[in-house]
Amino acid sequence: MGLFSDNPKHDQRNEMEERLKTDFVTLSSHQLRTPLSAVKWFTEILLTERFGKMNKKQLDYLKEIHRSNERAIALVNDLLQVSRVEEGKLHMDYTKIDMPRLIEEVIDANKSSLQSDNITYNFEIINGPIPPVTGDKIKIRRVIQNVFSNAVKYTQKHGRIDMALKRHEKNVVFSVKDSGVGIPADQQEHIFEKFFRGSNAARIQTDGTGLGLYIARSLIEAHGGKIWFESQEGQGSTFYFSLPIGRKGH
């Protein structure tokens, strides 16, 4: 479609597109997501085998296409978030957040991957009831998801994840302890860096982008909170984040 069309239809479309064009990242992510969505959905239709049964190799390869495409989608989503953070364009929509409920929601959304890997999990509230924190619910949910999915990725089959939420002075602290591969001591200082992936990641074939913890730290710090971890190679890791009770962050 030309930009200088005489067609009034085009002019109307352009109003929205022009606004989006000033936001290059938003438009790029939209343009990238569209063909990725088509690949994702047609692959899913074929995987139902409604048009005929496939042999094992065909199914395996189709699953590889789906997995790679999911990774591309995750990367686009993460890059969009990183760009928002780095351009200082994070729009914060503060509300009172019921943390136990939000954590339960994230656990529920991840139940299928927990079950498929036979991972046992527990979520405990210590020193409850937990007062609400003031924050952007979508962003805090994303932090919980990033920390939690990291624990799932690095905990091998039949492992264990223990989560706890507690009040500590003027903060709420959430912790996720996994029984995974742990982080080698010489790599620990890099763990929150953009695109950093530990050497263990390749060994256990996780498909992360190396952006999840970087995004988590940026979002937590934007709320005036902190994120940290303890880990020993071969003995798992515990990630923590804290959020101030009842006040807005920076």
Binding site: K9, H10, R13, L20, W41, V76, H91
Partner: protein, 122 residues
């Protein structure tokens, strides 16, 4: 059998959604733009509309505003299905009365079908 109108300008996406919904026994009409979509809504009387936002001509939000001016069809439930996922768009879509706002790339096709079924049951 419930009737669904899919307003989506990307042929591949339109085809995939229509395929999945027809497979579930829904009666489907499709449109590539908002104006045609409004005309089809008047005649087809869908039980639900799946609406893309970035369309040729009027965009999805304009479609929602136009729909409200048509008393007979003003209350047709709308689920936005877009790859624009900024909070600004989500807020605008929900404030215009959308039942839900789904970012295409983040949903399995089967989940989209489940969500459509949920809104049709209510």
């Amino acid at each position: 059998m419930s009737k669904i109108l899919v307003i989506e300008d990307e042929p591949a996406i339109q085809k995939a959604i229509a395929e999945a919904l027809r497979g579930e026994g829904f009666e489907i009409e499709t449109s590539f733009d908002a104006e045609e979509g409004l005309n089809i809504t008047k005649m087809f009387r869908p039980d639900l509309i799946l609406l893309d936002l970035l369309l040729p001509g009027k965009n999805g939000f304009e479609f929602m505003n136009d729909l409200k001016k048509e008393p007979d069809i003003a209350n047709t439930p709308i689920v936005i299905l877009s790859n624009l996922g900024d909070e600004e768009e989500i807020k605008q879509g929900m404030s215009l009365g959308a039942k839900d706002y789904l970012i295409k790339a983040d949903y399995d096709l089967q989940d989209v079908v489940k969500i459509v079924k949920k809104y049709l049951e209510n």
